[in-house]
Symmetry: D2
Subunit: 386 residues, 4 copies
Amino acid sequence: MEALSSKYKRVRKRSEDICSTLKTEDYVVQPMVDVSPPKWHLGHTSWFFETFLLISHLKGYTPYDPTYSYVFNSYYESLGVRVIRTDRGNLSRPTVEEVYDYRHHVDAAMEDLLSGSISDQVNMLTVLGLNHEEQHQELLATDIKYILGHNPLFPTYREISNPIRVATGAEEFIVIQEGTYDIGFNGSGFCYDNELARHMVYLPAYKIAKELVTNGQFLEFIEDGGYHKHEYWHAEGLEWVKNNNLVAPLYWHHMNNQWVHYNATGIKPLKLDEPVAHISYYEAFAFATWKEMRLPTEFEWEVACGQFDWGDRWEWTGSAYLPYPGYSKAAGPVGEYNGKFMVNQMVLRGASVVTSPGHSRPSYRNFFHPHIRWQYSGVRLAQRMN
Amino acid sequence: MEALSSKYKRVRKRSEDICSTLKTEDYVVQPMVDVSPPKWHLGHTSWFFETFLLISHLKGYTPYDPTYSYVFNSYYESLGVRVIRTDRGNLSRPTVEEVYDYRHHVDAAMEDLLSGSISDQVNMLTVLGLNHEEQHQELLATDIKYILGHNPLFPTYREISNPIRVATGAEEFIVIQEGTYDIGFNGSGFCYDNELARHMVYLPAYKIAKELVTNGQFLEFIEDGGYHKHEYWHAEGLEWVKNNNLVAPLYWHHMNNQWVHYNATGIKPLKLDEPVAHISYYEAFAFATWKEMRLPTEFEWEVACGQFDWGDRWEWTGSAYLPYPGYSKAAGPVGEYNGKFMVNQMVLRGASVVTSPGHSRPSYRNFFHPHIRWQYSGVRLAQRMN
Amino acid sequence: MEALSSKYKRVRKRSEDICSTLKTEDYVVQPMVDVSPPKWHLGHTSWFFETFLLISHLKGYTPYDPTYSYVFNSYYESLGVRVIRTDRGNLSRPTVEEVYDYRHHVDAAMEDLLSGSISDQVNMLTVLGLNHEEQHQELLATDIKYILGHNPLFPTYREISNPIRVATGAEEFIVIQEGTYDIGFNGSGFCYDNELARHMVYLPAYKIAKELVTNGQFLEFIEDGGYHKHEYWHAEGLEWVKNNNLVAPLYWHHMNNQWVHYNATGIKPLKLDEPVAHISYYEAFAFATWKEMRLPTEFEWEVACGQFDWGDRWEWTGSAYLPYPGYSKAAGPVGEYNGKFMVNQMVLRGASVVTSPGHSRPSYRNFFHPHIRWQYSGVRLAQRMN
Amino acid sequence: MEALSSKYKRVRKRSEDICSTLKTEDYVVQPMVDVSPPKWHLGHTSWFFETFLLISHLKGYTPYDPTYSYVFNSYYESLGVRVIRTDRGNLSRPTVEEVYDYRHHVDAAMEDLLSGSISDQVNMLTVLGLNHEEQHQELLATDIKYILGHNPLFPTYREISNPIRVATGAEEFIVIQEGTYDIGFNGSGFCYDNELARHMVYLPAYKIAKELVTNGQFLEFIEDGGYHKHEYWHAEGLEWVKNNNLVAPLYWHHMNNQWVHYNATGIKPLKLDEPVAHISYYEAFAFATWKEMRLPTEFEWEVACGQFDWGDRWEWTGSAYLPYPGYSKAAGPVGEYNGKFMVNQMVLRGASVVTSPGHSRPSYRNFFHPHIRWQYSGVRLAQRMN
């Protein structure tokens, strides 16, 4: 098994790799409230290690800069006044270079801490910090895409886009029999508190698609007037569509009588056999309704996921993000990680092309508000058996 | 069994009874977006019968006034342009008298329609219309309370308040064993489509309180600083509390060093042994967390509800409002009744002091957004068994 | 000269006459923030007499209802907490009948006060109160028009519309020579503090139209694409036009390929030779620019007004509402009447079809924000001499 | 006289000098809507020369990058779709380096254009472009102050602050006799169209302070409760104060029982004898009212300004920004420079510590909305003679 200090270096390096093609300016801006400036991600993940590990567990360590706790804190109510998220894009200082200096200072101290024998507490918090960092790596990737993809110059991020599984065209389904199934994490490694409290769930028989919905299929929905027909939508979804004049997934543009989309390599023609991405729960639901199917619940997904390929798109489920029956919130700041978000959000399962390797698992629960679409969110169809 | 025409008269009369002490002016205003002017409720429920029964099923019937369909339509997208809800409080015409004339005109035509032999379709739609009217009766009562309770003159609605079951002080719990239970409607009378598709749900063992949380218990939460301690709240709940400077349930006022509340008889001292009402899901959740318990799921409530008294307060559950596994939306306008609201809302079970007699049942699902508190919403605690 | 008590009765009666065709419901609503419910006007004007005259000057008088001071106060900061204007439309109580009772109670007490010999202070305050009432009469008329004209039933207010001077078609101008002119009130009767401090103003030579701009002329502007050509508009005017999707004056509708407008008698075809009304300063300015002319300043208007007919339309001027050089604010509540509004507003001169008889004069200064158009505001063109 | 090409180089260099201590990140952010990112100023001023001079007047010149016209256009409606100002802070590209490359490319081409004999049109447009650049230099300075002064790290901009004239403490006044005075530009050099059309204005006798109001005097106003007493404020000013919880000028902070303020060198103790800066028109007006004086009109200021020192603070006047009687808007884009802003703004006269040398003059009219305070705006008192 990989040593913790080695894993620490590997994971931390990956965050910097994601930013390696950025210009200094790209690190600074925040074009919408859900996006954070890349430099904030780099600082915040370092602040996490400094606050929860170095200050408490490394003898003699003093905070690198006391103002950073104000700048790089996130939503940790118990640690003091929160920086309002919309303000992050107004902060030119600390500079990108200063953030990297901070980062490397923290890394050196962490190496120091991890070089000797470490307590279970340090081990647990370091693993949590690395998983936290991996979550931010995913956000880094999607935030960078948003920043560049909303710039009128449509800059290139990388020369090649992430490779993606394309559809075979065979619309096959897996059938799952009715029964009582175990749900939740049952491995031995790391998982979040929201996956714990493994429990039984009764499921009626259902079928679930082997492949994700493609751009081509979603285009049929658009061309059938799907965005304008109220019968497919939640009332709030329809209002959201109207208020924002939406006609297609995020990053799709209709230029010169052709559908194109922005990806890492710039503006490109849409590939019809790629799985659709960047749709909201509202759109996923409307599409499924139009298809006379539905989204799987998160339990249906977890039970069936061993029988299909997943990992390219976060997949919207029909489940609201709620605690499992035996859920209990951890004490202290760690307990603020999940529980307080369990309202008004929908669960996504799987992973996406920008998820860190090894970061996801069958029991992993992601969650977003139903209008969110800057993640690589897609849709897999399900249907009950008659 | 009561004849349909007799039931029609009884239910329709009850709506007018609810308004019998109102002044003309009280029928007109809309002090917040979730409240509708009483005259709108009276007109809208009549429009329902005119549109879905009289126009289609009573030979020779012509619409009473073609503009009324514009004024009294609700959220029925499939019937044309919706009146924006916030606009209802700006409409002085039709007058209250004209609305009553319209109402009585519809009633006379409905009597005509129901006097002979009627088709299954007419029977079904009339029953639906009466249940629809009963839902609006509950809204009428809570909207009138909001209108009068937000007037600086605090006018009296009725000389006596609705009688209410008070707490015994014994904090007893019912224990339910783990197992697979049937959920959903299985009677022979009327129910909504969202209660149908009876299905099995597996539940771990749990206990659930015999009595509702009281004003006195909620006051302890307030006095313990509950509204200011982030650890009890959802992040969005806390933001809602802060943005609205909330310190107590709706209608509570702290006057002359005493907690009072507004009810049908005016401003009165709070009775500590009455069940708390007019709290949001956020407050119900925070209270339960403070108590180191939780809200029951809607399934837990339905399974246990035969063993406790209910009906005075709508009870917040920990379940998001989602379709049952076998749910399918009815075709046509009737299908817009429930399905399109199944996002971002939480389920309440039970009934309240202003629910029409016979309108609720164990499988009945009410639903509101988590910040809503102008309904008689309360809280019953639950806990898992160790 | 008319006795003060007789004048009091005449003016007070006129307010009730304006409301004589209203239904109770029409008294209650507030469809936009600048409009007040008619019953509020009736109560507020009575509150003025009660507060500034009866309480201080009529021995033994006690306030009719202490809560009314909260409900009917306006923007008088020095008298206590202000009711937020947008809330007025939410108040069903006091009822219309109660407001009339209050009104008549105040009237009886005022008759008592005015029946004997009265001090200069009482005389002055009564005259101010009557002028205040006349200002509210104008608002009553325009607010009622807004309430009925924004109701989808377009109810009739009166069987006949106010008669109006129509244009002759001769586009004649009056020429005024350059010179120093006296500006401000110099009569012996009542005037507001903002007209006082008569002073000299130097004016270059100019010409000013004998007649107001007509509907027909304004229609030419519309048909020439005037609302879409930025070069005629202030930047803020253009933004206002775009944000509100405006294409014509308020109350104009394009129905069945014809321009119609709402007036006291309902929806009627537009009369092309009537002076245009219900336009904002932005629209008046854009129209004048399109005509290659400009609006007169308030000084140019005052100097020339003896040479043309006026009184049907409030006329936008090119002058911002600012204090005259010698202006000083009166002490006490009376001093809040004008001075604190002298920012961000433009001056209108003249009067309108709904101005109370005798209420206006050449030195009278009305003022509104540049986007306001629910008043009978029109435009008269001017031009400098070369 | 300085050659145009030499002046071009000097002025253009000064913009870069203002930015010489910035970090790359400081060029990018936009912490409020009135502030533009420094790189935008550098690009926009270059775009001005490219668009109005190089493309039309330099043979063979092609736009450097066609997308830049979209990014760096300002409010020039006649040149195409405007970039919404609030979006400027979201654009990471073009990078700062690319903007400087663009700038230097334009400079080289302009040197080429100005090296030979030039037409009157080129001369006029170049002078306009340099004045435009100087206006943006002032904005650059105040925008940078806002960016750094709203960063929780309060970074230093320069080691020394701009030197400033301090008050002597003698509260002396200049007396101007009544009469008719000439107003407007009458020199031979450059001026804006809004200063032209020199015309006569009649002024009553008045007196005007020799010195600006100081921090110390403004502190007395604060300590007397000036921000909380409605009688000194416009109604809209008071609402602005309340909505924003204001208690002092911008950049003032009350730390450790001491008033400090942010300036170019960081957080420093307030100097009581320096002229107050960063106050809005509302605050200037309230202060003057508290002093039982008033602001001078722009005409009073222009007539008297030869008799006092000015140039450190833009001075709020009591005049609304309106066209002079003979004003006519220039044809084409140049005509959009001033006229379309002549509504809802107040005139400031003078100049400030960050105004480019030689950029101001007695007839110069600056203008801002009454709530604006990120400029070095101050106040000089006036009073009419009795």
